[in-house]
Amino acid sequence: MPAQLIINVHIVKNDLQTGKWQKTMELIYLRIENTTYFLIPLLCKILHNNFPGLQMTNAIILMDVSWATTIVAVVLMCFIPTTKKSILAIFTVIINAILTSIPAVQALGGTTTDFSFYAGTFLGDVPIRIDGLSAWFILIINFTSITGVIYGVGYLKTYKNAAYKLSLHWILFILFHLSMIWVTLLQNGFVFLIAWEIMSLSSMLLVIFDGHLPKTLQAGVNYFVQMHISIVFLTIGFLWVYLETGSFGFHSFQTFFASNNNLWLFIIFFVGFGLKAGFIPLHSWLPHAHPAAPSHISGVMSGVIVKLGIYGLIRVISYVQSDFNLLGEIIISISILTGLYGILNAAVHRDFKKMLAYCTIENIGIIGIGIGLGMIGLGSHSPLLYYLGFGGALLHVLNHSLFKSLLFFAAGSVYQQTHTRDMERLGGLIKNMPQTAIIFLIGAIAIAGIPPFNGFISEFVIYSGLIEGLKLGNINLSSLLILSFAGLSLMGGLSILTFTKSFGTLFLGNERETLPHQPHEVTRIMLLPQYLIIAVMLSIAFVPQWYLAIVGTLLSGMALVSHPIDQGLDVSLLAGYSKTLSHISLYSLLFIAVIGLFWMIRHFAQKNKSIMTGNTWGCAYVAPNNRMQYTGKSYSKPLGKRFSFMLIEKKRYPEIMAGEIFPQPRKYSSHYLDFIEHYIIDNAIRLLLTIVNYFKFIQNGRVQSYVMYGIVFILTIFILTLLNLVK
């Protein structure tokens, strides 16, 4: 048997080498034909345990198989019965994830895989490269997509009757997953944009799953428009490089940055990728799209798609060659503002998915601080700062993808059971949904960066980077970094406020309203991925040195072109910190042990005592009801008042008129507006509309005028060529 299998491998290789990808149609045919033959030797190889030796061709095979699986799955999805669709989706995503993870794991070990495929005469050979950076993101994408698809299957159980909707949804999800992976692989600007576009479109269509609701559709369109503004900027960036160097390949960035001003191209890319990542003032799609999407999609979007903006940024940074300090300072300043703005808004909103979306913006700020620090490290020739900055950022990318998807899943469970996203209508859910409550609590503690969970690890690395940066000695830098230090600690405090509020309002106390259906704990298929995420989170919290080592190798091998500190990029610099991190994990264990110890003492001390239950002490008021509990709104109101210059509260209520002796029942409503969206973006759009309105006469609906425009155009061209102005 093995001999035959090996022969099969050879056939494949030969096919690929001689067939050379020339005719795409034929190739797809070929691949579908051979799918089964591909799979068997592959599994055989894994079993024989020699996949460190897998070479370039094998990466091609893996990618082939993943495409073949996807195509088969997409076709199958349209024909199989509704109940099977979700299982097919799970299997396809898992197979794709495994196939793409194999080269990624190798790349993290240090072996970069390079290959290319021929894509027609225009594009030529499209280079594909799986290096440490792509690998890190591929693994994050894969994990979050797997948990997302499993959770989604449980989440969408109630949509059994909408077969067409489900097939489209799962097909899009598979494409979405694959396109995200391809974004991290492609090294050619043009093809990169295609993958980027597929990713944006598929995620937009996933967001509008409930497209019959006008609000959802609106959020989808908003997302759609903003993503295309992002693509415009990216296109400008790639075209600029193309015009200067004559190539769309990423390697031409190197030539560009070597001979041109680094600042402007970087800013163009920063806007393009920043729109995806959600830096302020480019964040305004996030708080609309995340709540509108089904929860497994919000989890994956917030966990991963936002991070691909970060991926793009780091990829561009790896080619930048000067102005590091300036760029680093710009990024840090924007990031601090992003973080504070995000978490302040998160603290006041009552829609719990919106709260999580704003919280994503905060975490992008924290990641941005790390990136900025890393750039300052490059600029001031401090390899340690480079490692701590980018290392902290990458670790936080991983951490955030975990706890944010966890929180979105838990929030989705609450939504599925209660059908409301308004936390003021809920309460006391810990009694009905204890597991979801604990999951949400773990996510909340982790996201606030508190030990003994994983959020603390990455925040600690970034804090260490800030302290390291303080010592660099430059007074401007020290002042900026001490303010970032204060800002980061303020974000920590604010996220405690935000998450105590949301956990307290959602899960604790009594239910504020009687819900139409009694909420129950969600199904096991929805809980399983959440426990998986928690397991990975704990592994980061208790073996952080392992993850730091991976990030260290990744960063030392990152394609930093002619960076100023290449002689000093020694990973052993991190040894001290990896020791510190391992100590922290031990202390976290100690912390848990101390808690356990006092719990035991408490248990024994209370053993023979009378333990009674009674009503909550109402401060001598004897007829309290559930509506009298402290609301989340009031909880964050003092904060909202302090920051009222930024957190715009809109209240709507009829005043009591003079002489209204017996007031009728009346309604009072209040909600917070996004300062940037409401005052800056909306005003800009209004201005644009006013200006554009003056040109309304051009599009007047008369065919005659349109014909005339055509004639005028042709005449102009004709005259211009006659005068030799246009060639």
């Binding site: 508190i450 204060a486 980061l488 405690i496 001390a605």
Partner: protein, 301 residues
């Protein structure tokens, strides 16, 4: 480990001294210095009443709150002897461990479903978050000044040499004393002796706690006082040999307790709506320290 034991001892007397000072300032004889500890011991022996609204969060929160203070105690050094836990950047760990305790004490207050306790929780969350930047800027400035990043090394390397460094030490003491008041919900921020739930912060959060749990919360309060007292003492201890530093430690702790007692006797509580401004002003004092440090290092040229 020395610091751990010393903080433990100091905490036994700390609150007693405050109470005694207050009663003497108001012309009363007052209870014995050990009275608060005796109260707590009595609480430890009692049974408990739990609200029907509460869940297991309410049960575990006091334990976690107390443990977080114990963990924080392990981080604080004493003069040249390091704390049980000491590593580069341990002050971040210190602040975040305390934050876990705070997190749980807040959600346990929310767990009761009482609007009064929710109000206290809201204030506690807001005030402690506003105090956070002051502490971090202070520690960042020390790190910049000494070139070290762990509590122990920073304090060991602090030298009082020039006039500016005296100014820095005085400002730092002021900031830390104020942080003590905020963290322990004492006078200018919160009045522990008020009888009206509407105007309480910490006291209203623990309205429903009783028995062993209440004892844990009270003793965590004592420990917290001595904990911050130890940090203040460390500002001045440096490399002083033990035979002087240990008595000095207790003198500083006692002095701090008397000062707190006096502040409580002669200053009225601020209006709730003015508290955030006051707390946030601490951050600017911390920034002054930072600029002082830049002066000492000769960065302003």
């Amino acid at each position: 480990m020395l610091s751990f034991v010393l903080i433990l001892i100091a905490s036994v007397f700390f609150t007693g001294i405050i109470v005694r000072t207050k009663s003497m300032a108001s012309g009363r004889k007052g209870p014995g210095i050990m009275q608060p500890v005796k109260d707590v011991v009595r609480l430890f022996k009692k049974g408990a009443v739990y609200s029907r609204t509460t869940s297991f969060i309410f049960q575990i929160a006091p334990t976690i709150y107390f443990s977080s203070v114990v963990m924080a105690m392990m981080v604080v050094p004493f003069g040249q002897s390091r704390g049980f836990i000491s590593f580069n950047g341990d002050f971040v760990f210190f602040a975040y461990v305390l934050a876990l305790g705070k997190f749980f004490s807040i959600i346990s207050a929310l767990d009761t479903g009482s609007s009064f306790e929710g109000m206290g929780a809201s204030r506690e969350a807001l005030y402690s978050l506003l105090a956070e930047p002051a502490f971090f800027i202070l520690m960042g400035s020390f790190a910049l000044l000494t070139g070290y990043t762990s509590f122990h090394e920073m304090f060991a390397a602090l030298h009082l040499g020039s006039y500016i460094s005296y100014a820095i030490a005085i400002l730092a003491t002021f900031v830390l004393v104020m942080i003590v008041m905020i963290e322990n919900s004492r006078m200018p921020i919160d009045d522990p002796k008020t009888h009206l739930e509407l105007t309480m912060i910490h006291e209203v959060m623990i309205l429903d706690n009783s028995g062993f749990d209440l004892g844990l919360i009270m003793s965590a309060g004592f420990l917290k006082f001595a904990l911050y007292g130890a940090i203040i003492a460390n500002l001045f201890l440096g490399m002083v040999p033990y035979q002087y530093s240990i008595p000095l430690f207790f003198i500083i702790q006692g002095l701090l307790a008397v000062v707190i007692g006096l502040i409580e006797s002669f200053i009225a509580r601020f209006r709730m709506s003015h508290n955030p401004q006051f707390i946030f002003a601490l951050t600017s004092v911390s920034l002054l320290i930072f600029f002082g440090v830049l002066l000492v290092l000769g960065k302003f040229v």
